[in-house]
Symmetry: C2
Subunit: 130 residues, 2 copies
């Protein structure tokens, strides 16, 4: 499919699709007239990229972890080198750290809300220790 269709199906501006390609997050072939041609899977891949960007990961990291988040959603074996495995493991660690920190702060927010509710209903406020 061409860029217009991909844009319509993913709801991502053409400008951004070209940017993702420049960042090597997606690939395209070129038709004789120079138009980009995308494979069907690209739709799902773009959705994954959006999720990861929305969650705060920079393209640099997305580029690194995308190859193992295969599309369709079944993993492949592109003969990973030990370096790839190592750096993937590091990214996994960083993602885990992100999750831990977000979880900690989420718990604090939830506890705060609980306390506010308890307070409203006349109970003693909880003391939340993170």
């Amino acid at each position: 499919m061409r860029i217009g269709e991909l844009s319509a199906r993913t709801d991502i501006p053409r400008r951004m699709l070209r940017y993702y390609e420049e960042q090597e997050l997606i690939a395209s072939t070129r038709a004789a007239n120079g138009y980009r041609e995308y494979a069907e899977e690209t739709v799902e891949r773009v959705a994954q990229i959006r999720e990861l960007l929305d969650v705060g990961l920079p393209t640099r990291i997305i580029r690194e972890i995308l190859p193992c988040l295969g599309v369709p959603r079944v993993i492949r074996f592109p003969a990973p080198t030990p370096e790839m495995v190592g750096s993937l493991r590091e990214e996994l660690d960083r993602v885990q750290t992100r999750i831990d920190i977000l979880t900690r702060h989420r718990d604090a927010m939830a506890c705060y809300l609980d306390s506010v509710m308890a307070h409203d209903s006349g109970h003693q406020p909880n003391i939340c220790v993170q």
Copy 2:
């Protein structure tokens, strides 16, 4: 304490501390000579801000959720209005969504690594479906 000490203790450049203040993430009083004066708790507060920034939250959101992540790490009741509670609940939802997405991708990465390991040791590769 003054900005130099705060910078040394938090390992955040002075430039950034002034920026956080401009973004209303931290506060300071001014000495007679115009120098910023920080309270002791600011050290911990800056650490929280760093965590949240590192995790990908923008200052806009941090400003919103910081008040309920009290320093010291025990919550306070600054008489929250219903609007504050509502928008905090929304932020909590967004943080939860972030956690969910990151968790899903973490699992995919971990599964991929598992499969690579199994492959190395001569087993059949796992099929990971997200």
